[in-house]
């Protein structure tokens, strides 16, 4: 059931024809994990909280730094030095008191990832490194949880929605690609903002069963030229994570 206040708060969503009250109830009964509350996770947690996802778990083991503030819109100067999940928790509850936020101050590793994803219906990628992404990708495949990959570098961004068993997983697409390790990536805030907005839309489409998700499709954006590449991507039958045994 939605309360009167919830009806008013989500009115502009509820009047969306394919979504309506049923879609809003589905969001209310959903649990989403946002892995990382940095540039991507700041935006996706904001939109998903405001949209009324009933339960959001945020996980991050980092502290707010001055150099985060150009893009990590959950934080302000007064939060510098605080644990990101604590600042984010407080900020998100201030945006929407109807949402339960569970903060986890941990680094995602093979040993704890099973507990972290427990109960989540969708996992949203807000990570800043490929090692943790592959750990999360593996557990999502194993536990059959949709995983919404988003990544950025400079003015470039990419997104795909991974549905285990149906679409290629992250390892199908990228396990053989060389990784160039950089200590710091150049980034303007609007690039993770853009990709995280798409991730938020993908999450709501999956949970409310509206529209057609970017499942089996890779969207690549080049901000320098304004070009988009949207292409169908295929599963790799020899994939070490999701391939046929």
């Amino acid at each position: 059931m939605l309360s009167r206040k919830e009806f008013d708060r989500y009115n502009r969503q509820i009047i969306f024809p394919d979504f309506d009250e049923r879609g809003q109830k589905k969001l209310k009964n959903s649990h989403v994990l946002i892995a990382g509350v940095g540039g991507l996770g700041s935006l996706s947690s904001t939109y998903l909280t405001r949209a009324g996802i009933g339960h959001i778990t945020i996980v991050d083991n980092d502290y707010v730094e001055l150099s985060d503030l150009n893009r990590q819109i959950l934080y302000q100067d007064e939060n510098i030095g605080e644990r990101k999940v604590d600042s984010a928790h407080k900020r998100l509850l201030g945006m929407n008191p109807h949402v339960e936020i569970t903060p986890i101050f941990e680094k995602i590793q093979k040993e704890n990832v099973l507990n972290i994803v427990k109960g989540a219906q969708v996992v949203v990628d807000g990570l800043d490194n490929f090692e943790t992404r592959f750990i999360l990708n593996s557990i999502c495949v194993k536990k059959n949880i949709p995983f919404i990959y988003g990544g950025i570098d400079g003015l470039n961004g990419a997104i795909t929605t991974i549905i285990p068993g149906k679409t290629p997983c992250l390892a199908c697409l990228f396990r053989n690609t060389p990784i160039e390790k950089k200590d710091f990536l150049p980034v303007f805030g609007f690039v993770p903002g853009f990709i995280a907005s798409l991730q938020s839309m993908e999450t709501i489409k999956l949970l409310a069963n509206i529209g057609i998700p970017l499942a089996g499709k890779l969207l690549l954006f080049d901000g320098k030229t304004g070009e988009f590449l949207l292409s169908n991507v295929n599963r790799d039958k020899d994939c070490t994570v999701c391939g046929e045994e």
Partner: protein
């Protein structure tokens, strides 16, 4: 000549070109995908892509991106993972 290209972002397209070079293949693939695989300013390969000929990165080849292709050559163009967040 038909050149079969393996990619991780656009399947395995077959591209027909006269006297093919890696550059010509990439230009044709850019037309097919409608996405610039060459950076517009300096015409170098976009930093989001890696290009291999028979497993060797193009930069390590004597003629680089202008290397001529022959029957049976294996061309692979891979989009790298964007790891930032």
């Amino acid at each position: 000549m038909k050149v079969k290209v393996k990619t991780n972002f656009f399947g395995q397209p077959e591209i027909e070109i006269e006297m093919p070079t890696l550059r010509k293949v990439l230009l044709e693939l850019s037309k097919k995908t409608k996405f610039s695989i060459f950076a517009p300013k300096n015409e170098e390969v976009h930093s989001d892509f890696k290009v291999y000929l028979n497993g060797v990165e193009y930069e390590a080849l004597p003629h680089g991106i202008d290397t001529e292709l022959k029957d049976g050559d294996k061309v692979e163009i891979t989009m790298v993972i964007l790891a930032g967040g």
